[in-house]
Amino acid sequence: MQILEVKGVNKRFGGLQALNDVNLSVSEGSVHAIIGPNGAGKSTLLNCFIGRLNPDSGSVTFDGKSLLGMKPHEINQVGVSRVFQTPEIFVDLTVLENVMIPALAHRDGAFKLNPFKRMRQETAIRAKAIDVLEDIGLEDKIDMTASSMSRGDKRRLEMAMGLVQDPKLLLLDEPTAGMSRADTNNTIDVLKHIGDSRGITMVIIEHDMHVVFSLADKISVLAQGTVIVEDVPGNIKGNPKVQEAYLGTTN
């Protein structure tokens, strides 16, 4: 079953055709990677999924519902979580609190007035947050203030915040950019583990070919605003179009 379908999406910024008739479909439970050279329109496309940008034409349908025109919190509430490229965490709060907030949002919806409920009583949410933090390897830092963490840990915290919501679709924007090789491998393991154990559908935007080919079930190659190829990883490497647009220029 296709959980996310993008059809005929166009987006123009002044004279620049950033997205040109983009079509994409992501099947449930799969890991779908979007790759492409710089300026190919990857970020623009992602922003169309999450309500930051409205395409000029075309449709983005998730689980039978159109995502276009929805507010960011509504998109999250239908089951699309996003992991940001630069960590956007709550720097004044503790690591545990950072993860409990999305967990609460997942359970309670977009708004719940519970000013007299004690945080201590939220044991289920707490357990769930700690569980995810263990998965991601931050269990010994739960009481740390988020601002004092290392950059790599912040990225992992970002991921935990997305994962704790048990999303139907997890959007990852360059999850390993700027990470060391060891951290990258670790992240790949975590994502693989989660993909297998929780069955979360993921869309990954990534530069690092190593990450893409270790994780993806399917790859879409974006160049100059258009999807030039959509295929399984095995067929991507040998594809001449891809080599011309992307691999040929970087290797």
Binding site: N76, E88, M100, A105, R118
Partner: protein
Amino acid sequence: MNNSKYSDSALLLFFIIMVVAGPFLLAPFGGSYPDLLQKFAIFGIFAIGFNILFGLTGYLSFGHAVFLGVGSYGAVWMFKLLSYNVLPALVVAVVVAGFFSVVIGYISLRRSGIYFSILTLAFAQMMFNVAYSVATPITNGETGLQIYNDDPQWLQGADSPLTTNLFGLKMNEVFWRPEFLGFEAQFNVGYYFCAFFLIIAFYLALRITRSPFGMMLRAIKTNQNRLNFTGVSTRPYMLAAFVISGMYAGLAGGLWACMDPLAGAERMQWTASGEVVLMTILGGAGTMLGPVLGAGFIKYFEAIFSKINDQVLHSWFAFMPDGMENVMVAIVHPFVGKGWHLTLGLLFMMIVIFLPGGLIGGLTSLGRVLTGRGRKSKG
């Protein structure tokens, strides 16, 4: 958070003891008289409520005195229409303030940051004009709303007291005047009535801060955008915080009217709104005890400074040679008596420039330096 149950209970207990012992504690400082003690409690409530909005969410409202003002008006109207009993007055004060904060909050919260501050300031000025001239039949304009002999007071019993009371217990009654360290301490019904609400207000604020709701508010302060992408609709959270703090202000305004059954437009002026901002940041925005401490500090020094006149100054500097004495009096004169506002303004700037964490923040870092530990206190 693990040991917050223990430390929160201790904090609450400490707070209750300080409030109940207030008349004793302030006696040596010449602050143990009903009027001042009541102001401590009333403005403590006001500042605690303001802190729920500003301290937790970081939204700086410049119009919170409006809710205090409408609370006072609502309470006085209850005295005029029903009786001198304070309970209906307080209920109406909170409800009216809640209503106004829903309307003003709904509109102002369409924007954030500076815009929000400007909008609340504009609303404050508008409501001041409304109270001062537009709605004169309701507010009695510049004279202020007060109780007259020909007011209906439908529920006023024949033998109930002709002053604000709780089922006959008069608010202005001083029931005990012990000597304490050579100073007179005055125990007043009105103060303990206000103190009761102050403790409840403090307890509720503590609960709110420690609740999931409170955590969302703190997350709004840190990164509102991210919270939206996390699936939280921040606007209703903001509105709820705004209305809660507006109702706190209404309670404070109602209590003020209960202590002294008057209401005037000047309670809603931007200077009054600025004062509660100052109380909060002086004590330490976002801390539990800070706002109350700031409110007490400001009200105490207001009372002290306003009383100092040139005669007092001359007696202070009498030990100096005549010329020096006059110079010193001339230097200090602009800051005391009627010049209290100048001191207030300077204090405002000093706090923002040098002590952004307020008194509590300053004490915490001092404590950290002294004990050599990096423990983060939430006092």
